[in-house]
Each structure stands twice: as structure tokens, then as C-alpha cells.
């Protein structure tokens, strides 16, 4: 197994790539030619094998064979997901190409998409092939100068959205929102120096010290909040496991399979 997946170089590498593509395309073609009623059991069987690998890797005690081949399995998963990236790009080209062809409102944004796509892709490929070329600083400008800055700008918008969301959340409409408002006030004040200053007149070692805002805030975060978070986590964990089991055993209905296998 390790020999098969060991790094290859030169002609051997190209032969492996060509061989993998031929075998992959052949299998895909075979699956496409398979009648619908046979295709589903085949997919169910492959899904079962995939799930069985990860289940056994987890359940069999330490240092089992499945753990040793984990890098190869993970790499295979990455390769499959890389193929789907081409389909994603194809979709982007389709949507933006149509916008330009039909001169839809904002079609110039689609032109910007194509320009940015080809520019950053070319700079990236040339940078990898010739690291000392002008493409390296160009890629740095495009990625760190444009891409990262634009992402940070979008992220910073959250600050403004939090204000409007908080306004709506803290509007007092019923008893629950009053409770939420009071809790939020205690938490917020307890986490800033002003909050501590407001209740600093309560001696830190007195019986009533639990009324100090920083202590109340800590109590709410650590006990009621944590208990609820863990309760949700347990529910989510069980739900996630049940769905995983249904998909593994191809029992999922309604969306992924419309009829019994």
C-alpha cells in the first residue's frame, strides 16, 4: 500500500497520473452505463466500505493497520475533491459568461471576475514554476494586497451589523427578552473595567461578594451557559451520529434516496 502511494518522480509520476486518470474515467464511465437499479446498490456498497474504514480505525485499539494507511486515504479524498473544483470553476464561468453575453445589469462585475481569475491563476502558476520571476511579487500584491485586504474589510463589517442586530435583540417585547437583556447587561458589564468599578464597593471577601458584576458574569458564563452549551452539544452529537449511521448504511430517505434500496 505504502509503495503504491509513495512519492513518484519524472516519467514514473506522469505514468501514474495518466494511469489514475484512465482508471478513474473508466470507472466513472462504467458507473454511468450501469442501469439505475444497479447503480444505487453499487453506490451504497462503496459508501459502506468507506464508512467501515473510519469506523474500524476508531474502534480497533491503538496502532491498527487502518491508522497506518490513513495518510493515503486522506490524500485520495483530497484528490477526489480537487476534481470537483473544476466543476465549481465551470459553474462560475457559466454564470459570469452568461451575464456578459446577455449584458445583464452589473455585467462589468463579471468582466472583473474573469480578469481577476486569470490574473491571479497565471501569477500563481508562474510563481510556482519560476519563483525568481516577476510573477512572485505580483502574486504577493494580488493575494496579500488585494485578496486579504478585501476579506478583512468584509470581516470588519460585522462590527456594524452587530450594532443593528443587538438593537433588535435587546428590544423589550416579552418576559424572555427582559431576561435576555438583563443577562446580557451583566455579562457585558462584568467583562469590562467599568462593570467591576460599579460594584467595587462590595467587599471582595464578604458574603455578598457574589453580587459583584465580574463574579456574576463569570458564574453565568461558567455554569448556566456552559450547561446549556453542553446539553446542545450532546443533542447535536447524537443527531450527527444517527445521520452518519443512516448514510453509512444507506438508510437515509427523503432527500438522498427517494425509494428503498
Amino acid at each position: 500500500m505504502h509503495t503504491l502511494f509513495a512519492p513518484k518522480h519524472g516519467v514514473e509520476l506522469w505514468l501514474y497520473i495518466a494511469g489514475s486518470l484512465v482508471i478513474g474515467a473508466g470507472l466513472l464511465l462504467l458507473l454511468c452505463q450501469t442501469p439505475q437499479r444497479l447503480r444505487k446498490p453499487v453506490i451504497a456498497f462503496v459508501t459502506f466500505l468507506g464508512g467501515l474504514y473510519f469506523t474500524l480505525e476508531f474502534l480497533i485499539p491503538h496502532d491498527n493497520y487502518f491508522t497506518h494507511v490513513m495518510p493515503e486515504v486522506v490524500n485520495a479524498e483530497i484528490v477526489v475533491s480537487c476534481f470537483t473544483l473544476f466543476i465549481g470553476i465551470y459553474n462560475l464561468f457559466g454564470v459570469h459568461g452568461r451575464a456578459i453575453r446577455r449584458k445583464q445589469p452589473g455585467w462589468y462585475n463579471s468582466v472583473a471576475f474573469f480578469a481577476a481569475f486569470f490574473l491571479i491563476a497565471s501569477a500563481g502558476f508562474i510563481k510556482d514554476m519560476r519563483p525568481d520571476s516577476a510573477a512572485t511579487p505580483l502574486f504577493e500584491i494580488l493575494f496579500n494586497g488585494f485578496m486579504n485586504s478585501l476579506q478583512s474589510t468584509t470581516f470588519s463589517l460585522i462590527a456594524f451589523y452587530i450594532v443593528s442586530a443587538a438593537y433588535r435583540a435587546f428590544r423589550i417585547r416579552n418576559s424572555e427578552s427582559v431576561l435576555m437583556m438583563i443577562t446580557a447587561m451583566i455579562i457585558m458589564l462584568g467583562l469590562v473595567p467599568l462593570g467591576s468599578a460599579l460594584t467595587s464597593f462590595i467587599p471582595a471577601n464578604s458574603f455578598f461578594s457574589f453580587l459583584r458584576l465580574e463574579k456574576l458574569s463569570y458564574f453565568i458564563l461558567l455554569l448556566p451557559n456552559m450547561a446549556v452549551q453542553r446539553a446542545i452539544a450532546f443533542g447535536v452529537g447524537v443527531g450527527s451520529m444517527a445521520m452518519g449511521l443512516r448514510i453509512w448504511l444507506s438508510l437515509e430517505r427523503g432527500s438522498f434516496f427517494d425509494e428503498e434500496l
Binding site: I60, F86, V95, T154, R168, I232, V236, G239, R253, G254
Partner: protein, 268 residues
Amino acid sequence: MESTTSYANTVIYIIEGLLVAFILINILKARGGKRLFIRRIQGLNYIDDAVGRATEMGKPIAFSPGIGGLSILTLQALSVLTHVVRKAARYGTRVIACVCDAMIYTIADEMCKDAYEAENASEFFNGNDIRFLSDSQFSYASAFVGMLHRERPAAVFLFGHYAAESLILAENGQAVGGIQIAGTPDTTQVPFFLATCDYTIIGDEYYAAGAYLSKEPTLLGSLVGQDYGKIVLIITIIIGIAAATCTALAPGSTAAQWLSTHFLEYFK
């Protein structure tokens, strides 16, 4: 090579075995015709209302399955997407689904195509309405927000895994006046959705969506099995609390030693 995840211990064998058994037994019971009760989940009831609203207004529906990759969480979001598409296909309403992962795009595309076919409405399916925007978190958020402002959907569904971009998406959904239904098991994003969306599905309700919407016996049986599993977990927690308290309060006592040997030891 060491696994990235830890291995199972004795307690995991027992609890997971019980959970699997409960789920499978209840699935078999449900398939055998046993009627199972499922409580009302308000947010999920309003999914159909939101689709109806979009149809009446003649506006599209926007759907985001989150920024997660191929995982159980995203597959559940796609399951809700299928339900929404099937409902919308009956009335010829457009559903614009924007995905953040190329692999999810291929699955979403196929599922939507199948959903339109299932409703005999293949003529309404438009491949360009299932869009791969970007696999980068904030690029996806920007593109989704742009789509919201251009298309001005009457209903916005935000299901799946979200991080910091959740508020950006939901606030802009509010800004365009769409009825918003969000569902996520991510506890850190739930407060943002509660503040900005009309209905929010949280925690394990998220995983109940498939069963609730489709009323499929297999899914309903699984849901009941999960509840039995939760009972097992609650009992384990109670025994654990008793064991830990006993060990802390009276470390040398016979009860503490017994609990430590027969219970806490198996968690290691």
C-alpha cells in the same frame, strides 16, 4: 502514524453500541408500521409558509448550505434544500442555492435536478441558480450578499455550518426584507441568528429537520432512537456526577473506591 482522532475506550463501545442498537431497532419498528410521535418544531413549520410567501410575491428564494465542506452537517442542510426545492418546484418558484464548496456544488446540483424531476417540473430547473461562489469564507459572504441585493429574495434559508459570516448574511437578508429561517448546530452562531432571523432551528432540532419535513418512517424511527440514546447519556452523566462527587468528598470510602474501579476507570 498516529490517528488525528483518539481511539474508542470501553465506555464508547458500550454507549455507541446502545445508541446504534436503539436507532436501528426503532427504524425497524417504524418501518413495520408503528406510529411515532414527533413534537411540533415551529421553525420547520414555517419553511412551507416561507416558500408560499415567495410564490405569492413572485420573488425567488435564496438558500445557503453554510460554509462547511462535505460533512454530515452540510448533508443535512442539503436535505432541507431538497425539501425547499420540491415545494418551490410545485409552484414554479426559483430557488437560488449558493454553495461554498465545489464538492457540495456537484451534490447540490444533482439533488436539485432530482427534486425538480420528482415534481415533474424539470422545465423550471435552471442550472445557473445553483451557484458555486467561492471556497473562501468572506468572499462567499460578499458574493452571497451581492446576490441578495440583486435578486431581492422573498425568503432566505440559512442552514448548515456558519462562522463569523453568519451575521453578514442574516443582516443583509433582513435588509432586503426576506423572511428568514436559519438552522445551525453551531452554538456560537445561534445568538446572531436568533437576533436577525424570523425563525431559528438550533441544536438537535437541526438534525430532526429531515424526519419532521418528510415524515419518512425510517427517519422518524431514527429520531425516536436518538431520544433513547439521550436517555442513556443522561443516566451516564448522573452516575458520573455521583461517582465524581463521592470520590471528591470521601476519597477513601468503599463507595468511592467501587465507583472508581467499576465506572470512572472505563472512561480512561
